[in-house]
């Protein structure tokens, strides 16, 4: 039995639903000796900001007793200027679809970055990391979650015809109105979810495990939260959903398809297993064979409720 692994999102066809999560696969070349790109539908690069960011003081990563990890990278990145000067050449454009993640503290930050990126050829699209609270416009803090998301997406939409996915945090009181706002403002997809805010300490030394004290909690403990957010958003929007959060094996991936996701991001798992995309894809295919499903697409939203 041949399982059809590709998924469509508007004009874009991904050869598999697997993407890499922003910040876990660098600019796409760091893992090139280790990871088989043919299992990937695309990659999402580390979030890029207008100005370079040095990031947070070390330590920047720790494990949690619950089997996940917390990172406080602090969105360290080279900034748009150096990206265009050097990193852009590392993008694996010949190997897979490339989505560039963009981040900012203000609406202008986003538009200034995307404007410059429009000149880079062969980019499949953008992922807008709007997950940081307190986004500003022209220096003023934007009222609520919906307002900030709407402003960013609308203004980026006006700049580009490329595919835009908007990545949301799980820390909204309600995800549905924010998801709807992103779509109304022109998003082609939603990425759900970014990390939870988390923290671990060492009771013996009384010190926090991260230099920045708190950070972004990811890995297996995130999966139930991500499933819920994907489900809740899928009830209200029609655009494809990119799932992110705790995927470590093929069954996790299938669960997200059933819950309503079209693409699946592998993030933290890459640190433990750089060959995870290949393994997960095989496990997904095995599931389909066992259940007589001949295309991943047939599973999307197939939860029996």
């Amino acid at each position: 039995m041949i399982v059809n692994a590709n998924v469509r999102m508007g004009d874009i066809e991904l050869r598999t639903p697997l993407l890499t999560g922003s910040g876990t696969f660098g600019y796409g070349s760091e893992f090139e000796d280790l990871t088989d790109y043919s299992a990937l539908g695309g990659i999402v690069t580390k979030s890029l900001s207008f100005e370079p960011r040095a990031g947070n003081p070390p330590p920047r990563i720790c494990e949690t007793s619950s089997g996940g990890i917390i990172n406080s990278i602090g969105l360290a990145n080279v900034g748009i200027e150096e990206f265009l000067g050097s990193k852009v050449n590392e993008l694996p454009l010949d190997k897979t679809e490339v989505f560039l993640s963009v981040v900012g503290d203000s609406v202008e930050d986003f538009t200034k970055v995307v404007e410059r990126l429009e000149d880079v050829e062969r980019i499949a699209g953008y992922e807008l990391n709007v997950s940081c609270p307190n986004v500003k416009r022209g220096g003023l803090s934007l009222g609520g979650d919906r307002e900030a998301v709407t402003a960013i997406v609308r203004e980026v939409r006006a700049l580009t015809k490329r595919f835009i996915s908007v990545k949301l945090t799980p820390h909204y009181t309600l995800i549905a109105p924010v998801a709807q706002a992103a779509v109304d403002a022109g998003a082609d997809a939603l990425t759900l979810i970014n990390t939870l805010v988390g923290m671990e300490i060492n009771a013996e030394t009384r010190k926090p495990l991260l230099g920045n004290i708190t950070g972004g909690y990811s890995g297996p403990p995130l999966k139930p939260v991500a499933l819920a957010k994907v489900w809740q958003a899928a009830q209200v929007v029609d655009v494809p959903i990119w799932a992110s959060g705790g995927i470590v094996n093929g069954i996790d991936a299938i669960e997200f398809l059933l819950t309503g996701a079209t693409a699946l991001q592998v993030g933290s798992v890459l640190f433990a297993d750089p060959k995870a995309p290949t393994r997960i894809l095989n496990e997904m295919i095995q599931y389909c064979e066992r259940h007589n499903v001949d295309s991943f697409t047939d599973l999307i939203g197939g939860l029996r409720t």
Binding site: T24, L34, I61, I69
Partner: protein
Amino acid sequence: MVNKIKMSIIEKGIITDIKQISGDIWDMTVAASQIARNSKPGQFVHVKVNNGFKPFLRRPLSIGPVNGDTLRLIFLVKGGGTQILAKKNVGEEIDMIGPLGSAFRMPKKDEFPIFMAGGIGIVPLLFLDDCLTNDIQRLFLLGLRSRSFSTVSDDELNKRSIYVSSDDGSIGFKGNVIELLTEQLDNNKLINPIIYSCGPGIMLAKLKEFCEMRQIPAYVSLEVPMGCGVGACQSCAVPKADGDGYYLVCQDGPVFDASLVNLNHGELP
């Protein structure tokens, strides 16, 4: 920073020997031809200690002495991850990514290499020691808390003529390894010394200060918690000495020219 080497692979090595050196120190020999044959001293492997995802992250370990197709991993049982490693048996597989990171730059003809290890920091220096031809003179120092916390066997201490210091005087020089270094430098009037070091953060910070005072070049191998190990996640930052951002230990290091990094962070939490 030095001799940066690309091309790392995932290799499942086979444990050919494992023994306890002292209380919490284990010495494991692993057959992993591809990694072993491409490794240089200072580099490390990123080890998956268990199947599945408990613990979630790999553990970085310095590559110890290489012998043909095998390499030695010598480790301190610190927490759950190294505990699992210590329980492995001969014949079991061990999944490693490597060789990773930068290597020590070799001493120049006129330089006198001094290896200064703190505790388990001896591992990359053992490999470096092996890589210098016999005709090159060297001084090998090891600081321990006490004899019972030794990180190498007495045999190896002798074979390599390692000078030991211990905080409690239970073995070798009584005092810390910087004091031992000072004594050795002053007594032997060594010309053009160059120091290679690895050990606890506080020791490295003191060494850096010492070397800056005496204008001795020093290379240090650093330890920070890591995610990917390959430069993709930026987890392994160490601040630059000039205050302008961070280096990545997995990619720019683990070996750094001591003058380039800020080591005033003390021990890990």
